[in-house]
């Protein structure tokens, strides 16, 4: 009876925690990375990343979207993290405006939905105020890290495979222990 009461308390505590512990917290998914090439071809124009949304992140820290900036060189990247405590749905929208440097007016604007994909813009030129470009997309991978979160972007896919391998190895060893125990008891 004592054990039964003890277990009941654990069971109901667990149910209450299931209702509350982290299931409503937004889960972080893969970061969408926007990169640029050929910014030098924007002669007489500039490309500005603007943000329209309910939520404004003023910290400009990765991995949250960096906002309202002039894209000056090919090293510029826009990283959009989906999920996390400070994330809002509107953060997924990336707005790019082409601005004429003489008149200061926006001549072209682009809107991209940053989710699940990385996009690499290759800018060719600006013709009559319109941006001529190609955009290559690749699948975004969550930033899995092995030792510290500062690992290189090139290792994210490899790290994911290591996570899968570790998990499979753990389950295999457990099955091995089950088989060994079964053999011992049957002898």
């Amino acid at each position: 009876m004592k054990h039964f009461l003890f277990l009941c308390i654990f069971f109901f505590t667990s149910l209450s925690i299931f209702a509350d512990a982290g299931f409503s917290i937004r889960r972080e998914h893969a970061v969408s990375i926007f990169s640029f090439e050929g910014i030098n071809n924007l002669k007489g124009y500039k490309l500005i990343q603007t943000h329209v949304g309910f939520y404004t992140d003023t910290s400009h820290k990765e991995p949250y979207t960096n906002l309202g900036r002039i894209i000056t060189d090919d090293n510029y990247t826009i990283t959009t993290q989906e999920g996390g405590r400070h994330w809002e749905e509107s953060d997924r929208d990336i707005y790019l405006n082409v601005v004429d440097m003489l008149t200061g007016k926006t001549t072209d604007s682009l809107k991209y939905f940053a989710k699940d994909y990385n996009i690499h813009f290759k800018i060719k030129a600006v013709v009559n105020g319109k941006l001529q470009f190609t955009a290559d997309s690749s699948k975004a991978v969550y930033q899995y890290s092995l030792l510290n979160p500062e690992e290189s972007k090139a290792t994210y896919s490899r790290n994911r495979l290591i996570f899968i391998a570790c998990s499979a190895l753990g389950f295999l060893f457990l099955i091995g222990l089950f088989i060994r125990n079964k053999n011992k008891t049957s002898k």
Binding site: F11, S14, R27, Y144, I164, C166, F173
Partner: protein
């Protein structure tokens, strides 16, 4: 969260914290705890970040799985296995939700 910390923290929760319940078996609870950490830590992390699955189901699965492992691999005392599976997983889940939220 880096892989090494997931495994270490899950080992502390499922191996070291469970050890007093099975101290007569010496090092075996630690071995089982380490294998549980190795199997479940990366598995839950992958499910958490790569899928949209409702986490109630993986957590219930892990509780049942841990019960079977503790019961069959360590000691066939059902109340110990239930306490270990529910209580230590609760600590694990709250920790997991906090560090990955």
């Amino acid at each position: 969260m880096p892989l090494i910390w997931i495994i270490i923290s899950f080992f502390i929760i499922k191996g070291l914290l469970a050890w007093p319940l099975y101290y007569k078996l010496k090092w075996k609870p630690l071995q089982v705890g380490f294998l549980l950490a190795l199997a479940e830590g990366p598995f839950l992390t992958l499910l958490y970040h790569d899928t949209e699955i409702d986490f109630t189901y993986p957590f219930l699965f892990i509780i049942v799985f841990d019960f079977v492992v503790y019961f069959l691999l360590l000691q066939k005392t059902w109340w110990k296995a239930i306490v270990a599976a529910i209580f230590f997983n609760l600590i694990g889940f709250v920790y997991f939700a906090l560090v990955n939220g």
